[in-house]
């Protein structure tokens, strides 16, 4: 009954060759103007719609929610067949995962029927309202409040680091619904439309000029109870899985990642050395080789850990091992690229704009070690949840949230 891998491959190949343009989409932070970015979002929606119409979206999503009801192996086949083709990369993370996966796991039948088909069609782009100003790594310490008002909830507070919220449609939002219990036991999760009254959006400029991130101010935002996901005060049950999905997005079968997408990046390293005039220098060549080894080791790790989780050899917190490796490898690769630039690393001519791009990437090196959970949090999780070392003792354990020391107020 279910489509075989070979059948699926044949169908996907035929459709893709006919409908999906050639090209590679990837993300370079802060490289586009607002207009370009909006065009790109529109193109992403179109590509998503194209794939949807060919029955190539929601590979693992049950058919009743508009998906294909197939397996991770089919998803892999799709990635292979999509090699060298444009893809709706802006709709992968966080829309497909963690947002859609959270709705799929915790949503009511009604919620799933409403949102998942819309997501798969490219009609709804979702974001995460998780971090807060002053919250740092302590996501469960959320201070955005949701107060019950009859059949509705009234949200007040502020969320930050929402990627691309200014062109998105909906968000998952973690809010505090009970202040008299320890922090993990007083949270709930809501679905919030960005066009709701009382949602004000402020764009944050990053040090490299990118304005992709937003801060939202929520003032008396009214949300029907039907937009709540999971039980009241039990939001951390949802939140833990949410963050697991977030950490493991890089290997999720719910996202489309055309095969070979990263190979170009690997090749770039040698090309960078070549372009910087250092391809004949053993010192530069060793750096290139070091980077290559790191990237390949990273790739193998990203295959190994999910397999170990699937087989039960490791628990699902092991996704943080991938995250941590990604942070460390990313940092080193960024530094190696910068070193390869030589004197162009500080100031460059227009002709060397390709090199200058890497100098700017070094400037924002830490962005990827902060966004999506800091390296430090990943180390906490790996040491405590993977290696089983003693938990860090913190004063917020077991006390009502309102009594937790907060330090001086942040803006």
């Amino acid at each position: 009954m279910s489509e075989s891998l070979d059948e699926f491959r044949a169908r996907a190949r035929a459709y893709i060759r006919q409908h999906i343009p050639e090209g590679v989409d990837s993300y370079t932070m802060g490289s586009d103007s607002d207009e370009e970015e909006l065009e790109d979002v529109a193109r992403s929606r179109e590509l998503q719609r194209l794939l949807h119409d060919g029955g190539l979206t929601g590979i693992l999503v049950p058919e009743q929610y508009g998906g294909q009801g197939l397996t991770a192996a089919h998803s892999e086949v799709l990635n292979e067949e999509m090699a060298g083709r444009r893809h709706p990369f802006r709709l992968q993370v966080p829309t497909m995962t963690p947002c859609m996966t959270v709705i799929l796991e915790f949503g009511t039948e009604e919620q799933k029927k409403k949102h998942i088909p819309a997501i798969l069609r490219g009609d709804e782009i979702w974001m995460q309202m998780l971090s807060e100003p002053g919250g740092g790594s302590d996501v469960a310490g959320a201070q955005t409040r949701a107060d019950r008002d009859g059949d509705e909830w009234v949200l007040n507070g502020s969320k930050i680091w929402t990627t691309g919220a200014w062109w998105a449609d909906w968000a998952l939002c973690l809010a505090r619904t009970n202040w008299d219990v320890p922090k993990h036991r007083g949270l709930s999760v809501f679905m919030v439309p960005f066009d709701a009254e009382g949602v004000e959006m402020h764009r944050i400029e990053l040090l490299n000029g990118s304005k992709e991130f937003c801060q939202e101010f929520l003032t008396d935002v009214h949300i029907p109870d039907s937009c709540r996901i999971g039980d009241v005060d039990d939001g951390w049950t949802v939140g833990r899985r949410w963050m697991f999905y977030e950490r493991s997005f890089g290997s999720s079968p719910h996202t489309l990642r055309p095969a070979g997408g990263t190979m170009a990046t690997f090749g770039e390293l040698y090309d960078l050395a070549h372009e910087a005039g250092r391809a004949d220098d053993t010192q530069a060549r060793e750096l290139v080789g070091e980077a290559r080894a790191l990237a390949l080791a990273m790739g193998q790790l990203a295959e190994r850990i999910p397999a170990a989780v699937t087989s039960g050899r490791m628990n699902d917190q092991a996704a943080s091992v991938i995250r941590l490796m990604g942070c460390r490898v990313g940092r080193r690769l960024s530094t190696i690229r910068w070193e390869l630039l030589g004197s162009m690393a500080g100031a460059w001519t227009d002709d060397d704009d390709d090199l200058g791009r890497w100098a700017e990437a070094f400037l924002s090196r830490q962005v990827s070690e902060i966004g999506g959970g800091t390296t430090e949090m990943a180390r906490n999780v790996v040491s405590e949840r993977v290696l089983g070392l003693p938990r860090e003792r913190t004063p917020d354990q077991g006390v009502p949230f309102r009594d937790v020391p907060m330090g001086p107020p942040s803006r």
Partner: protein, 386 residues
């Protein structure tokens, strides 16, 4: 290493593990410190009976593997060797056995292979050379035609178990290109000298060939066309080295995790201090990535797909992180960790030696760049995206 073993592989791993626990425990290893061979002959013969030397040789030549992936089977042994810092010429013998199985003459297979498979005989591969040819793949030693045979002159270093070996598979240049010869160690003109090493039980030798005359029957493969054989030997050696390193790293990490939980400092277990925890988290990451890339290399060699690239990536990555991981393990032990009576250094030694023979970290990084360069030039010439 492989998270998914077949039942037969599990059984084989278990047998090897229990044999090593009994016959190659850390006290036994320490006892071999000044032993000339570095291993007990009977131990090695019994290991061979378990299959340690037969896996990489086809059944038609007297060998046999556990699964349809002989190299994967072999990495199981190598991994356990690492976990126990076990003695014995595992890599040396298997590389030569595989080479003979692949390209040996019928006579070589009949006269030499059986003794390797039974553990009666030992053979080793001589490839590395002294400065300035000490970089990976640098071969200056020459074979020159001499009547119907060949005359060999040159110096080889880091020949594992050279002192125990009956035969040496030596890689040379020749007027028509790379060549390999199987030479008995008692051949006139061949001189073996023990080298010093970091490893407690692994012995290395310098082998000097001074106009060593060998008959045409000593040729392995075809003179001038040995490149593919040499490449395959290096791959096998690298894959086994990596499996051993990962085993040793696993052992070091396990000992350390137990230590930091048991050991109290200022009234708290060491493992509860966040600075220690964070470093252990990093180490766990290196360890898992090392497992991954070691498996990836074995897989790539088996499938003959991007084999050199993956082998070099594995040696470059594990060769850099392995010694660091073991040194961190030493550090967390404090004083006791730097004593001879503690086990930690056995694993540190094994990792260091494997990281530097058959290509250093730098060698393998440079080779990765060579490969990228070829791809990049090809890409630019062909105008296609990689």
């Amino acid at each position: 290493m492989q998270p998914q073993l077949t039942n037969d592989q599990e059984l084989f791993a278990d047998t090897t593990r229990r044999f090593l626990q009994e016959h190659a425990d850390v006290e036994a290893v320490r006892g071999l410190r000044r032993d000339e061979r570095g291993y007990d002959v009977g131990y090695w013969r019994r290991g061979a009976e378990l299959g340690w030397t037969s896996l990489a040789v086809g059944e038609e030549h007297g060998g046999g593997s556990i699964s349809d992936n002989p190299l994967a089977d072999l990495t199981i042994v190598a991994y356990e060797f690492g976990r126990h810092a076990a003695p014995g010429p595992l890599i040396a013998t298997n590389v030569v056995a595989a080479a003979l199985g692949r390209s040996g003459t019928a006579a070589q297979r009949e006269s030499v292979l059986p003794s390797l498979l039974s553990g009666e005989g030992v053979a080793s591969w001589a490839i590395a050379e002294p400065r300035p040819h000490d970089r990976l793949g640098g071969i200056a030693m020459e074979a020159t035609p001499d009547g119907t045979g060949w005359s060999l002159t040159g110096t080889k270093l880091q020949v594992e178990a050279g002192g125990s070996a009956d035969h040496i598979l030596v890689t040379t240049t020749s007027p028509t290109g790379p060549a390999q010869f199987l030479v008995a160690t008692d051949t006139p003109g061949l001189t073996l000298t023990a080298m010093q090493s970091i490893d407690l039980t692994r012995r290395f030798a310098e082998v000097v060939f001074d106009n060593v005359a060998v008959p045409a029957s000593a040729v392995v493969g075809e003179v001038g066309h040995a490149a593919a054989d040499v490449a395959q030997q290096l791959r096998i050696a690298n894959v086994l080295q990596c499996a051993e390193m990962v085993g040793a790293m696993d052992a070091a990490m396990d000992i350390t995790l137990e230590w930091v939980m048991d050991r109290y400092s200022f009234g708290r277990p060491l493992g509860g201090y966040q600075a220690i925890k964070h470093r252990l988290a990093d180490m766990k990451t290196w360890l898992e990535a090392s497992h991954g890339i070691a498996d990836g290399a074995a897989h790539a060699v088996h499938n003959d797909e991007r084999a050199d690239e993956m082998c070099s990536a594995a040696k470059a990555y594990i060769g850099a992180q392995g010694p660091e991981l073991c040194q961190e393990c030493v550090q967390f032990h404090g004083g006791i960790g730097v004593t001879y009576e503690h086990d930690m250094h056995l694993f540190l030694r094994r990792v260091i030696v494997n990281a530097t023979t058959h290509g250093t970290v730098t060698d393998h990084r440079l080779r990765l760049t060579d490969i990228l360069e070829t791809q990049s030039v090809g890409r630019r010439a062909g105008g296609e995206a990689a």
